[in-house]
Amino acid sequence: MTPDLDDRLDLDARPLPRRVREFPFPFPTDSYRYSTNVEAAGAANPTAAGAWGASVLAVDEFYVGDATECAGLLAADPSRCQELPHMRPAVWDAVLYVLTQLERARPDYFRLEDLGEDRFRWTNRPLGLQQSFRYGDDSTLPTDPLRWLAPQVQDDLVLLDQREGALWADAGVVTAAADWSMKFDVGMSFLEVHGPVPRIHPERIISRAQDFLMRLQPGEEYRRTNWTMTVGRRLDVATETYPEWGPDRRLVLAQDLGARLHLRVEVQHLVRLPSSGAVLFLIRTYLLPLRDIAHVPQWRDRLAAVLDELPEDMADYKGLTRYRRAAADWLRAAGAP
C-alpha cells in the first residue's frame, strides 16, 4: 500500500527519493525509552513517507558501495570477523540462510542453484560474482565462509550460540558497529554484551529479550529497531576507529548540520537458524541526514520532540550530548513557515 504522499511533502522534493520512502523511521511516539520492542519479521511497516521491512534483507542503491567498504575494512582489519571454532555449523547455516534471503529479496540480482548432494552454485550479479560450493566444506570457498559472506550483505552478522541457559556471541562480522566492537564482545554472553547500556537492567529488558530469543523455534524470525545519530554518511563508527570519527561529534556544530548530521537507525533481525539452532542477529544500518528527514513533516516534528525529551543518561550513552539541542533547533527551524 502506498500512502498518498502529496499532502505530506515539503515543496522541493517529489516524489521522495527511495532512501526516504524506505527509511525505517523508528519513533512511534514523541518520547523514546528502551523496551523489548520485537515484532514478527517479514511484513511491511508503513511510515509517514512509505514503508520498510517487506523482506528480511533489503538491497538498495548503496549495495555495491557498502560491499566495497565492508571488503576494504575486512582487508585492513581482519579482526572485524570473529569466530570461535565450535561455530562452523552455525556459520554454514547462516551462509545458506542469507543467500536464500538475498535471492528472495532481489531474484533479478541473485540466484542460488541447488545442484544436489550439498552442492550449490551462487550468482551475485551486482558484484559480478559466481561461486560453486559444497555445504559444510570450507575448502570450496576462496576464504572462510563468514568472511566470504559478509561483503555480500548490507547487514552486519552476529551468531549467538545457545547453551547452559544463555546466549553467547561466539561469531560475527561487524563493519558498521555503532560504537562497539565484535573483537571485544566475541565469546561474551548476551547479558554481558549489553552490560554498558543504561536503564535496561533494573527493568530486566535484556534478560527478558534473552528469554524470548532462547524460545525461538527453528526458522522463526523477529525484528526490532534501534537508533542513534552519526556525523556524515559513515557506516563504520566502531570503537576501533573512534579517533577517526569521534572529533566530528564536536566539529559538526560548526558545519552544515542538516547535511552532515544523520539519524542512524538499525533494523535488527533475530532468526533461529534452522539446522544449527544458533540465533542469527542481523544488523542493518540506515543513515538519513536531517535535511531529508525535514522533508517529512511528521518525522521532522517527532525527531525534534524525541531529542528534546531524551533523558541525559540515554543521550550520553548514544553520544548525542554535544549536538542534540542544536539538532532539535535545526529541525524546528526547518519546519518554521
Binding site: 514478527a40 561455530m87 555445504y135 559444510g136 547453551r163 541457559g165 527453528p218 522463526e220 534452522p274 539452532g277
Partner: protein
Amino acid sequence: MTTTSLVPAASELAQADPSPTVAVTGPGLLSLRVQAVETAADGVRTVTLTGADGGALPAHPPGSHLVLHCGGRRNAYSLTGCGTRPRSYTVSVLLLGDGQGGSRWVHGLQPGDHVLADRPRSAFAPVATARHHLLIAGGIGITPLLSHARAARRWQRSFELLYGYRPGAGAHLPELRELCGPRLLELPQLPDFLAAVEARLVASPVGTHVYACGPAAMLDAVLERADELGWPQERVHTERFSAADLDPGAPFRAVLRRSGRRVPVPSGVSLLTALEGAGVPVPNLCRQGVCGECRVGVLAGAPLHRDLFLSDEEKAAGDSVMCCVSRSEDPDLELDL
C-alpha cells in the same frame, strides 16, 4: 519421543514463512505425503514423509520432533534425520497397546496418505561446545539419537552411542552400524547396558555432554547417577517419551485477574483442563510440561512446579506456571488471564 499424547489444540505459532518452503500451507502448518512405510523392528513402523507438493521441507536441529495431526489428536515424534536440508522427514513409531491411539494411527498410514504436521520443534539439540557427545538410547528412544549421530558424523564431532534394546527389537540397526562403526555399542542385555552406562558416566572426559532418551526409569537412573558422580546439570540432557506419572495433587482455585472469575481445580484434574472446561483457552501443545506452550503468568500465590520446561531460576521467581502439569501450593493461585 514417541508417545507424548496430545488432545486437539488450536494453538499455532503465528510466524513468518522463514524459508522458501512450498510445503508450508498455513501458519506453521506443513502439508505432507507418506512416501514409504516399513517395519523397522518388532512393533516399530518407520514412516517417511515428503512435502505434499514435492517442495523443500524446513530444516531442523538434531533431536527435533515433528507434531503430527493424527485424526483428532496431535502426537510428537522424533525426527531421525540430521535436519540439514531435509528432502524428507522420517519417524519411527512403536505400537503401544495402551497408548491413546496415536501410535495405532501412525501404524495405519499407507504410501500416498496425506498428513498435516506442525513445523519441527527443537528441544533436545546438541551443545556446540561439547568436547565429546555421549548418546544413550533405550529401545525406541534411539530415534532422536539417530538424528544426533548423523549430525555428529556430518560435522565430525566426537561421539559414542550406547544402544540398549530387547533382543530382536532393535530398530535402525543396519544404518546405525554403517553410520557409527565402532562408535556404536549394541547392548541387547540389560545388565550390559547398565554397566556400559555406568562406566561412561564414571570415566568420560571433562567437557562431555550426555544425551539420553528412553523409558522414564532409564532416564531417572542416568540423571541420578550423573548427579552422584558430580556431573553439572547443564551437561546431562534427557528427552522423555512422556512426563513421569504425576500424583493427582490437592484441589485449589484459579483466580483469573482480568475477568475476576474463580475456577476450581479438583484433585486429579490439571489446571489447563480446568481452564479449558471453564471456557478459558490457553495455547498448549504437549500437555506434559515439556514444550513450554502453556505458560501462564502468576500474579499471586505460590505455584507448585511439576514441569520439565522452566529453569530453576524461573521456578524460583514464581511468576509463571506451566498449567498443563503444575498446580498451586496455596488454596488460591491468581493468574494473568
